[in-house]
Amino acid sequence: MKAITANRLEDGVVVYLGADDGWTSDLAKAARFEDEDAKAALAGAEARAGEIAGAYLIEVSDAGAPAGRETLRETIRKDGPTVRLDLGYQAEA
C-alpha cells in the first residue's frame, strides 16, 4: 500500500494526505492507495501547490506504518530526530 507525504508549505512540517482529502500529521489517518492508483493520487496532491511542497509516495503497511526500504527514513520523518526526542511529532505523543 502507498500513502502520500509532503512538507506543509507554510512551516515545512511533515504531513500526509488524509482519508478526508485534507492534510494530516498522523500517518495512521492517511489515505492508503493500491499501487496502481497511487500515481494519479500523487498528481492530484502535487497540483495543490499552495498547500504543500515536495509530495511523494511512501510505502505503508496494512496497519498504516512506514514499510519497505525507506522504513527508517519515514519513521524518522513521522516521529522526529532520534537524537532529540523532545522535537518533532514524538514530542507531542
Binding site: 512551516d11 515545512g12 530526530p81
Partner: protein
C-alpha cells in the same frame, strides 16, 4: 573586525525585501515549488526531512558578541531553541517556518548577517583559519584577503551561475586549520626565500563522491594579484567545466581529468590577458580593508600569569582544560581559548540559545568582543588574557561548554545525517554520540592525543569522512544502516584521503571497531606519536586485521 559599509547594508536589505515578496507569492500559490526552489536556495533555505533548514553565513567564521547574541535570540524566537555549527563555519537552523523566514532574515540583517552565498552554484562563503589575527604562527592576518574575496565574489555577475558550487579557503599559517587542500581553491599565504609574501595556489581539491587532494598550480603568487588570478581560474573553469553532468561539474573533475599542468597553463594564459585590467584592488582600497582588521586594543602584559599558574595548581580540571583547549597567542599574556561543542555524548556542533548568549557575554567581557567558528564544529574565543582564563572557564562550565577535548577522540565531526537530512543513507549523530561515550574518560583521551574521527551520512561528505584519521561513511544496505570505515585521511597540511578498511559494519559493530583501531594504535605507538603517524608508519594491515579478526 569588518563592518558592513552602507553599500553592503543596502544590498542585504534589498535582498531580504525581494525574498519577502517571493515568499508571499509562493504562499499565495502564484509561484510553484519548482519556480520557488532556486529562489529560496539563493537565500540559504533548504527543505529537509522535518522542516525547512536555513543556513546562515558566518564569513570566515568571525562573529561579534552582538551577532552571536542575535543568533541565540533567533534560535529561540523562530526555531526550537538551538542552532548547528557546520564544517563550513556556518550555522544552520533546523526548524524555521517559511512564513517567518523574511522576519528572521531582517533580524539577522540588523546585525549584518545574512544567508547569501550559502547555497547554489556560486562562490560560497569563504572559510579561513579560526585563529586568524591571534596565532603567533601566521605570516599575516588572512582575513583581509578573505574579505577581498567576499567583496569580489558576492553577486559577481560572471560567476553567479557556475557549473557547480565553488568553495575557497584561505590560511596564513603553516599548520592548516582550514583544510585548504580539499577545497576548490585553497590559498596558503607565506613568505618566500626573498622575503616577499604571496600565496601558494592549490586547485581542484574536494570531498564528496570523487574526493581529491588539490594540486598546486602556482607556487608563489604575489599577494597583490590575488583577485585577478582567482578571476583567471574561475574563467577557465566557467568556460571548460562540465555542465551536462552534476557529478562531474566541480573544478576538481576538470583539473584532474585534463591534468593540473594543463589547467595551470590555461589559467596562466588567461591571467596574462587580464592581470593588468584593474581587477586587483588599488593600494588605498587594500589599506581600507586592512584597517577593518586592525588588531583590537591589546594590553601590554607580562607573558606569564601568576594567577593562571595558581589556579591550575589548585584545580586539576581547569589545568586539563587549559592543556587541551587553549593555545598560544601572538601577544604576550594572551591565549586563544577553544570552546568545545562536543560534550561527551552530545550532538556535534549543536548549541542552545542560552549557550549562544552565554558565549556572547563571555566574549564581550573577556575576548575583545570576538568569537570564531571552526570547521571542526567548535567555537573559539580568540583573545583571552591569561589572567582571565579561570573566569572564562568557570563561565563556560556554568553553560556546559567546558569539555576539555579539542582535537581528541571525542572531538568528532558529524554531519546531520538521517536524523535531519533528506539526502542521508544513515544516521551520523548517534554514532558520534556512542563513540564519545565509549571514550568518555578525559584523562584517557588526553593520553591518546590527537585522533580525528569524521562521520558523514552519505557520500556527499559534509562530515569530511575522507579526511578523518578514522572516517565513517553511512551507506544504505537494503534499507539498513551500514557504515564504511576509512583510515589514514587528513585534512591538514599533511592532507591525504583515507583508504577503505574493508566491508561495511553494522551500526552495532562500528563503535567496537573504533575501539579496536585505537587499541592497535595504543599497542604500537612510539614516542607519543599521533594515531595518524602510527597508521602511516605501520600501514593498514594491522588495523584491518584487528577490525576483521573473527568479527
Amino acid at each position: 573586525m569588518y563592518r558592513y559599509d552602507e553599500f553592503d547594508a543596502t544590498m542585504v536589505a534589498e535582498r531580504v525585501a525581494q525574498f519577502r515578496g517571493q515568499v508571499a507569492r509562493r504562499l499565495s500559490g502564484d509561484l510553484t515549488e519548482d519556480q520557488f526552489k532556486p529562489l529560496r536556495l539563493m537565500n540559504g533555505l533548504y527543505l529537509q526531512l522535518h522542516a525547512y533548514m536555513l543556513r546562515v553565513a558566518v564569513p570566515y567564521g568571525a562573529m561579534s558578541s552582538k551577532q552571536m547574541r542575535r543568533l541565540g535570540e533567533v534560535a529561540r524566537k523562530y526555531d526550537r531553541g538551538y542552532g548547528h555549527f557546520t564544517t563550513r563555519q556556518n550555522i544552520q537552523y533546523n526548524w524555521p517556518a517559511l512564513v517567518d523566514v523574511p522576519d528572521l532574515l531582517d533580524e539577522l540583517a540588523d546585525v549584518e548577517m545574512h544567508a547569501i552565498q550559502t547555497s547554489g552554484n556560486c562562490i560560497r562563503n569563504v572559510t579561513s583559519d579560526q585563529y586568524a589575527g591571534a596565532t603567533a604562527e601566521e605570516i599575516e592576518d588572512p582575513r583581509p584577503y578573505c574579505e577581498m574575496i567576499r567583496q569580489w565574489s558576492t553577486f559577481h555577475p560572471e560567476f553567479s551561475f557556475l557549473p557547480r558550487k565553488f568553495k575557497i579557503a584561505v590560511t596564513a599559517a603553516p599548520h592548516d586549520r582550514a583544510a585548504v587542500k580539499v577545497h576548490d581553491i585553497g590559498l596558503i599565504l607565506y613568505k618566500n626565500d626573498e622575503g616577499e609574501t604571496g600565496f601558494e595556489v592549490i586547485v581542484g581539491g574536494g570531498l564528496g563522491r570523487t574526493p581529491y587532494v588539490g594540486h598546486t598550480i602556482r607556487k608563489f603568487l604575489p599577494k597583490e594579484y590575488l583577485l585577478s588570478y582567482l578571476e583567471a581560474i574561475l574563467r577557465v573553469y566557467n568556460l571548460e567545466g562540465r555542465r551536462d553532468n552534476m557529478y562531474k561539474a566541480r573544478i576538481k573533475i576538470l583539473v584532474n581529468s585534463e591534468g593540473a599542468d594543463k589547467f595551470a597553463e590555461a589559467v596562466e594564459a588567461e591571467w596574462a590577458q587580464i592581470k593588468d585590467n584593474g581587477i586587483d584592488l588599488p593600494r588605498e582600497e587594500i589599506a581600507r580593508i586592512n584597517d577593518y582588521f586592525a588588531p583590537p586594543a591589546f594590553e601590554t602584559l607580562s607573558a606569564e600569569s601568576a594567577a593562571l599558574e595558581e589556579k591550575k595548581a589548585a584545580d586539576k580540571d581547569f589545568a586539563r582544560w587549559v592543556r587541551a583547549n587553549t593555545v598560544a597567542h601572538k601577544i604576550p599574556g594572551y591565549a586563544i581559548a577553544n570552546i568545545s561543542l562536543k560534550p561527551i555524548g552530545g550532538i556535534p556542533g549543536d548549541i542552545s540559545d542560552v549557550q549562544m548568549e552565554a558565549v556572547a557575554d563571555i566574549a564581550e567581557k573577556y575576548s575583545l568582543d570576538e568569537i570564531r567558528a571552526t570547521h571542526e564544529q567548535n567555537l573559539v574565543l580568540p583573545h583571552v588574557k591569561k589572567d582571565d582564563l579561570y573566569a572564562v572557564y568557570k563561565a563556560l562550565k556554568e553553560a556546559d561548554l567546558a569539555t576539555a577535548n579539542i582535537g581528541m577522540v571525542s572531538d568528532i565531526i558529524a554531519c546531520p545525517g538521517l536524523d535531519y537530512c533528506s539526502l542521508a543513507n544513515a544516521r551520523s549523530i548517534p554514532i558520534a554520540q556512542r563513540i564519545s561515550e565509549r571514550f568518555a574518560d578525559l584523562g584517557q583521551q588526553e593520553e591518546l592525543g590527537e585522533i580525528k574521527i569524521k562521520i558523514s551520512g552519505c557520500i556527499n561528505a559534509c562530515g569530511h569522512h575522507h579526511v578523518g584519521h578514522i572516517g565513517i561513511l553511512g551507506v544504505d544496505k537494503k534499507g539498513e544502516e551500514f557504515y564504511q570505515v576509512t583510515l589514514g585521511g587528513s585534512g591538514a597540511e599533511d592532507a591525504s584521503l583515507g583508504e577503505i578498511a574493508g566491508r561495511g559494519l553494522s551500526s552495532d559493530q562500528v563503535v567496537d571497531a573504533v575501539e579496536k583501531l585505537v587499541g592497535v594504535y595504543r599497542q604500537h605507538r612510539q614516542d607519543n606519536e599521533r594515531f595518524l603517524d602510527t597508521y602511516r608508519r605501520l600501514g593498514a594491515d594491522p588495523f584491518k586485521e584487528a577490525l576483521y579478526e573473527a568479527a
